[in-house]
Symmetry: C2
Subunit: 254 residues, 2 copies
């Protein structure tokens, strides 16, 4: 299914080249592409060494990034503006946590028409200006420590991009995580019982278990194996151990 | 309720001082405290200028951070180890997405006993060694673009710390987002009707609305106001506008 959202990240007056590069990297890791800079401190920020280093391969995002003079120029095609601001404003859009807002926004979005969603990030030093916040439909606030809420610009963008991707994935399907190793097959109860019998013989053979006074050793091992949810392969390994114990004990007697 | 988890972030052989500082900042924003470095490239990394700059005020995390020689020394008191590794291993712990894993882990955790959860991050260049991954109970994989999955170390830590905090908050209560402005009171239907009547008179007075051929203007405005969910304050403002239109129209006639 095509995702009916065009996503754009807008940095307003970013001052650190490293943050611009890190933002490009964060955007790309989450499968987005569009970056627009409004009045960056460095006119050549997209080509600065620090930017390229911190982008760490997200060169296509940097190459396609636009630099504009006004926020308006950055907003063509955008229909839903999300400000990211630490400080609540006297009035302006409602403040919401990203996860909650994205879930509702994506669930409510009609799939037959495309929307443009823009994430606005203020400058590292001053945050967003009131007049820019007022234009937004929502002010996203990442829940943070009440006395230390200041995320780095690129870190905040990474969290927002991640949450937005998660919300899109929940409705439209998303990135799979790296495939795990081949799924293991759990041992069934008879296989566990067989293992326990085999182990019991081995433990007797090496004189650890006294059959006349077994105490609770075997039930304890049973509980351990149940809790660990042994795989068939692990049962195989442990039975190999039991076999070796029995053989060694036989040699010791002989 | 006391959260029955002690949380620790462990960076194995970090090579960039900036990442150590950014990690400290990320840890603090999410309300955590413990940072341990295993064999960092720079012995004095906790006191380097770049570290302190990027920590941006999270000095207490840096001051309390420990530097150790082996992963074992970093793991005292830790009972659940989460590796973060891009590359799936031939065997080793199951690979899971952080959100899914944390939700299940926190839901299943008994509250009467404290657990130590450690997040292990490999070096920027080489990731985690197999032998370190094998020790972990789970390998966390942040869902990313299939062909560009490499998050910056501190960015990955920020996402993991954020997700872990969100999971803790869901069960034990968490950080509130910055309080919004005073909640506004929605206008009720009679107030909207009163506004529409007032506006209709004003629109007639300024010769925009022809009462003989009103078309669908008022129903359209009604639909717009309903969709916008006007507050009582906004109704007040719009009625002020209507009043001014009527007064101006009266002066224009006089």
């Amino acid at each position: 299914m095509t995702v009916p959202f065009r996503t754009r990240f807008i940095l307003i007056e970013p001052s650190h080249a490293g943050n611009v590069g890190a933002a490009a990297r964060a955007i790309k890791t989450m499968g987005f592409e569009e970056l627009v800079l409004v009045r960056p401190r460095w006119a050549n920020v997209l080509r600065r060494q620090e930017t390229i280093e911190r982008a760490s391969g997200a060169n296509d995002v940097l190459n396609r990034a636009r630099i504009v003079e006004t926020l308006d120029e950055a907003l063509d095609g955008m229909t839903h503006l999300c400000a990211t601001a630490m400080t609540p404003r006297d009035f302006g859009p409602p403040t919401r946590a990203p996860r909650e807002h994205f879930a509702q926004f994506v669930a409510a979005a009609p799939t037959e028409e495309s929307q443009g969603i823009a994430f606005l990030f203020g400058s590292e030093r001053y945050g967003m200006k009131n007049e820019d916040v007022y234009r937004a439909h929502v002010c996203l606030s990442i829940p943070t420590h009440p006395r230390f809420g200041s995320l780095n610009l690129a870190a905040a963008l990474q969290v927002i991009a991640y949450e937005w991707r998660q919300a899109l994935s929940a409705r439209f399907g998303g990135f799979e995580i790296a495939p795990a190793t081949a799924p293991s097959v759990l041992a069934d109860a008879p296989q566990i019982a067989g293992l326990l019998t085999h182990l019991e013989q081995a433990l007797v053979a090496v004189d650890f278990l006294d059959p006349a006074a077994p105490k609770k050793l075997m039930p304890r091992l049973n509980a351990l194996f149940n809790r660990a949810q042994l795989t068939q392969e692990e049962v195989h390994i442990l039975r190999g151990v039991a076999k070796a114990m029995l053989e060694t004990a036989a040699r010791a007697k002989g």
